[in-house]
Point group: C2
Chain length 436, copies 2
């Protein structure tokens, strides 16, 4: 496509964050006490000092990683660089798994005798939306860094490394094992394949008790609901022909237009939020040929599973009608219009309930840090564990980013604000892992 | 676009040949006598012997030229090769003009004292529809040659060279000057720029009295009417956005769909034949983004000028309505849908009347050769002179071709049939040029 990308700002690029109804108040709980105790501990003071001293290094690592392109399905170079960074932090069992995720383990002390050791995954995604050949050189203008992918999600990767150093600086032992990871396949076409693999074929798949993915944004933004989505590429095929000599034959572009018009009139509920979109249209070879094929790629999402199913059913019913209308409107003497609807994305939805310990911890830590937690639903790597009933959240890694997914993507550095967020995130991880 | 090209056969690839009402019978005339005299002359026997002896060379030259790719706007390599061939035939004033046409003059003896010497242009187009990088290697299977562009219009170019040799072999002098040419820009995006230039800026522009372009097909197929066409690329622009976060905003794909549906219902007359087509659709950057822009490229043609004007008017009225409907259907809080309709092709129509000498000559020669002339309208280089009232025809150069404009394009060799057509074409040129 030859259309320029324009400016647009997403609070969370790939999250499509949507405010949920205000969660019920959480009772004062052990999590609140644990959060307060941690925050005032001398160990945590050492950890925060480590983060503060690390700030320039985090920025440097962001630039280094941003400048290693990581298009969908081509994350390997960046993955290897990040794996080397994980190794340099002294993690155990540093490796790349079968799908390209890289990870290393920080062993915990384990639970009581006979109790399984919890395993917390802390991850950020390696892939960006940008195709191969995109100029990923970082440009700095004052406190602002510009480069495709720098916000979503490259900036989160070095923060995780800083957590490892801060935990070491603080002398923390955790009960839980913590698996630090950079995962592949979060963005569009990747269809969450990195985290899918982690939970279906990865060697830790049966051990993971908690999962936190970090995405650009504020740390008090707590995504505890995963919006389910189904994406289709629908191809309309026909006999084609010459615009003059074959005038009157069926044209797949008209069948597709019928479908788009019907789709555009589809009624969907606002609660749970349910949406649809025609994202890409393509087809035809020349102005004076009736196309042999045209195609549209569409997105349907809902925070409700039944609503997504209903939406998909309606959509799939539109297609044969649209095609039949075109076959009735023009000649099928040289062939009819047919269509193929290919499922190109299927992200399961799910929710980590407000009463789950992971939510209580994130909420308590944020409040103890003076933040007002904001709950949202999104479409992120957390969708996979959420769909399996495993406690999962997506949190902001602390940077304000803008124009994510555009060539003007950027990140604003604000050391004081960023550090406050880092501290908040680290405290969440530490309380969750029962650090001492 | 990534859609496979499929098989399709056009009798005349770029002509979109359409049978016209049977022309009125032509009175027995000087042209008939001249045709008969020429055909039985010893000079013409020598000329036909030359063509027969040249057959293998014509085939060899077709292969040579086909394998020099000539995409739209990238005809230069093939043009230079053809220019060298024109020069080798001993033509005068061999040159490439300002737009890339190549040509050489065969001087005639001129008219009576004080009478301007007629100038006949004999041309075939150099360009093919295929983009750079298309494999143009010719594959031979028995009597069939396969390669993109071999039919339309590469096969015609060497036939013109054979005419020059045959005229020399026959010892013909012509009254008219004959300009042999390979022209650029006949196919779609070229928008007839080669022949436009010839008649607007070329050095012979005020001298040309007759014009014959050769295209694949039978020599008794006489295109004496030029179908007018107007082509638009319509771009629909909008604010774009995230498919989830910005759901409810206007989407240019829906505005375009509205326009396509209305366009598909447009009523057009069948006489004069009037047609329209959506040829290319494109737009959008990712499945989960509301597109900033989508576009459709459309073709409108008519054998009648008033009908083409009316068709264009209706089409242009559809666009604002389609856009307004989308702006009314969804939120314009972040911007409205707008559109831009860019005229990307404008081929004037015209007719060379049945009573024009060039038609009478072609008709008389074909009949004298035992052919039943078939008159048609098309969209070819002849549109330009026709629109200016200059006598012009497009004739088939004598090869049966198939699947023109497809990657399976091919040409069937049938020496006896082909030679009969070459003789017919050469006789037409000779009678028109008043050869002696």
């Amino acid at each position: 496509m030859s259309f320029p990308m324009r400016n647009i700002m997403f609070a969370f690029a790939s999250l499509a964050a949507v405010a949920l109804a205000a969660p019920q108040a959480l009772a004062a709980a052990p999590e609140e006490a644990a959060a307060k105790a941690l925050l005032k501990s001398p160990k945590f003071a050492k950890a925060t000092a480590s983060l503060a001293g690390d700030y320039d290094r985090i920025v440097k690592d962001i630039i280094t990683l941003t400048e290693i392109a990581a298009p969908p399905f081509r994350e390997e170079a960046r993955a290897k660089a990040y794996m080397a960074m994980l190794k340099a932090e002294g993690l155990d069992d540093v490796e790349m798994d079968g799908v390209g995720n890289v990870m290393g383990l920080r062993h915990g002390t384990g639970g009581a005798k006979g109790e399984a050791t919890p395993l917390i995954v802390i991850t950020a995604h390696l892939d960006t939306v940008f195709p191969e050949g995109t100029n990923v050189k970082v440009r700095r203008d004052g406190d602002t860094l510009y480069a495709p992918g720098i916000g979503d999600d490259t900036c989160s990767l070095p923060v995780l490394l800083a957590f490892i150093r801060a935990m070491k600086a603080g002398g923390f032992n955790t009960k839980a094992d913590i698996l630090f990871m950079g995962n592949v396949g979060e963005e569009g076409p990747g269809d969450l394949r990195g985290v899918r693999y982690l939970f279906s074929q990865g060697k830790y798949k049966d051990r993971i008790t908690h999962f936190i993915s970090f995405e650009p944004g504020q740390s008090e933004r707590i995504t505890n609901a995963g919006t389910g989505s189904r994406r289709y590429k629908v191809t309309f095929n026909g006999p084609g022909g010459h615009s003059m000599g074959d005038f009157g034959l069926v044209n797949p572009a008209y069948a597709m237009a019928n479908a788009m018009v019907a789709f555009s009139k589809m009624q969907v509920p606002s609660d749970p939020k349910t949406v649809y979109n025609v994202g890409i249209v393509e087809g035809g070879t020349s102005v004076n040929s009736i196309p042999f094929a045209t195609a549209m790629t569409i997105d349907m999402r809902s925070n409700g599973k039944a609503e997504l199913d209903a939406e998909e059913k309606t959509f799939l019913a539109i297609l044969p009608e649209a095609v039949a209308a075109e076959n009735a409107a023009r000649s099928t003497a040289k062939g009819k219009i047919s269509y193929e609807a290919k499922l190109v994305g299927d992200r399961p939805g799910g929710t980590t309930p407000m009463e789950a310990r992971i939510v209580k911890v994130a909420d308590a830590v944020a409040k103890a840090n003076g933040y007002a937690p904001k709950y949202s639903a999104g479409s992120t790597d957390s969708n996979i564990p959420m769909s399996k009933g495993i406690s999962a959240l997506t949190l902001g890694s602390g940077f304000e980013t803008f124009r994510n997914h555009s060539l003007d993507e950027g990140l604003k550095l604000d050391k004081a604000v960023n550090l406050r967020h880092f501290n908040n995130e680290l405290a969440t991880v530490l309380v969750l892992a029962e650090a001492k």
